[in-house]
Amino acid sequence: MTHPTGVERHDFDGETSLATRGQPVYGERTDGDWRRWDPHRSKLGAMLEHGMDTGLGGGETVLYLGAAAGTTVSHIADFGGPTYAVEFAPRPVRELLDAAESRRNLFPLLKDARKPESYAHIVEPVDVVVQDVATRGQARVATLNKQFLTDDGRLLAAIKARSEDVTADPDAVFDSVRAELSAEYELLETARLDPYHEDHLGIVARPRKD
């Protein structure tokens, strides 16, 4: 599996891990300029550790839904192009702002990912939509934001079973999400993100042509 340009494996205290170059954000270990991309903290990091074929080459324009405190999106901005980070809750956005301070290509937005019209006047068409929103209706969010993807773009989504239905069996939830997503996306690859993230499913998909 070739890594995107700007993503390398480095050694951190005897353990090799993915890493990118940029200002540390969340107390991660560093090796010179390189900071460890912790798959236990980052869903996309876990997807890459699992060898999923994300299609990322480096330099993509990215829309990130559910940026939270900036753990994952900061790594993306390290090796990506223009990176738009959307997060709903003000508390983590305080830390997202810190991560964006030193990253001129990272654009933080306190917006609701279920209301794309509230940021469509800001966000240009992107190569990749990365999604990690812990809410109900995760497939719906991906559908609403499909309009930002170029025809050959990619959706990289981490689906959390418990956010959809805290009482149901995760596999049943994943089947349901996959089914709903398939109306608008062609699913290229899916994989469970254990052991890094329990009851999460990683999805790589491309938009169906309307």
């Binding site: 223009p82 702002l97 964006a100 933080p108 306190l110 019209e117 800001i122 966000v123 068409p125 930002f148």
Partner: protein, 281 residues
């Protein structure tokens, strides 16, 4: 065709840019960097992105501060939750008293009685079921206490002057009744005086009763501890200072110990009428 956030903006107008980031809308995304350069908003795409970074940082910082400053909303939720827990604890305590009375004879009532049941030995399943309910009742009362403690810690941070004059719980109640600190700050002091007396106010407006002299501020020692004929004056004086406090808390955040000193003096003079035998003019 949609308009980008920069459409029609002066490239140097920061306030307008922030406003557009926050409130602008578009049906569909378009190639904004290209359009911005074409419209002359930026010299090239690199310059556009630099400006976009500046503007999104500013707009998002401001939005976070505004949302976080709405910690008065957290206080509102907490004080309403405390009222809910107290009410439901009392409702369940009534049920426990009825049920306990049928098993053990009239032994008490209220949350206190429910707590005492938690120590009884169970003789049979019915005792166990009742004890479980009693423990639940006690837990709800504990939750109300826990929320009260949260409010006592939080209200002085959200509204320091109001909390100083009214105490944190009454401050939180007033904010809750108004619907927020800003809403409270915008009310005239006459309205603040009767917040919480909606039933009495309604009866008055229907012509069935005199206008109420006070709402929830009655619980303040300065009103409750004043003799009946002077309570109207005390409530007016207190409501006046509480209104000022709310405005200072919302608009400036300064600390104003002089408000407490003024209020104390005014109430002292009002309460002195009792000894002097002075009737209110």
């Amino acid at each position: 065709m949609s308009n980008g956030w920069f459409a029609g903006l002066d490239p140097d107008d920061d306030a307008a840019a922030v406003e557009q980031i926050e409130a602008g809308r578009a049906e569909t995304p378009e190639n904004w960097p290209q359009q911005a350069v074409e419209a002359g908003f930026a010299d090239d795409e690199a310059a556009y992105y630099d400006r976009l970074h500046e503007v999104t940082m500013a707009a998002t910082s401001a939005a976070v501060a505004e949302r976080e400053g709405a910690d008065d909303q957290q206080l509102v939720h907490a004080v309403r939750a405390m009222a809910d827990c107290e009410r439901t604890a009392n409702e369940l305590a009534e049920r426990v008293a009825e049920w306990g009375g049928s098993r053990h004879g009239d032994s008490g009532s209220g949350v206190e009685y429910a707590r005492s049941l938690a120590d009884r030995d169970d003789e049979d399943e019915g005792d166990r079921a009742l004890r479980s309910l009693a423990e639940q009742t006690a837990a709800l009362a504990d939750e109300a206490d826990s929320l009260r403690a949260y409010i006592e810690r939080t209200a002085p941070a959200v509204a320091p002057n109001l909390s100083m004059l009214a105490g944190p719980v009454l401050a939180a109640r007033l904010i809750s009744l108004a619907g927020g600190l800003e809403a409270l700050a915008k009310k005239p002091s006459g309205t603040v005086q009767v917040l919480g007396a909606e039933d009495a106010l309604f009866a008055h407006l229907k012509g069935n009763a005199p206008s109420p002299k006070h709402g929830v501020i009655f619980t303040h020692e300065y009103v409750r501890g004043t003799r009946r004929e002077d309570r109207g004056s005390a409530a007016r004086a207190l409501a006046g200072k509480l209104s000022i406090a709310a405005r200072v808390d919302h608009y400036s955040g300064d600390r104003r110990p002089d408000l407490q000193a003024d209020l104390d003096e005014r109430i002292e003079r009002i309460q002195a009428r009792a000894e002097a035998g002075t009737e209110e003019q």
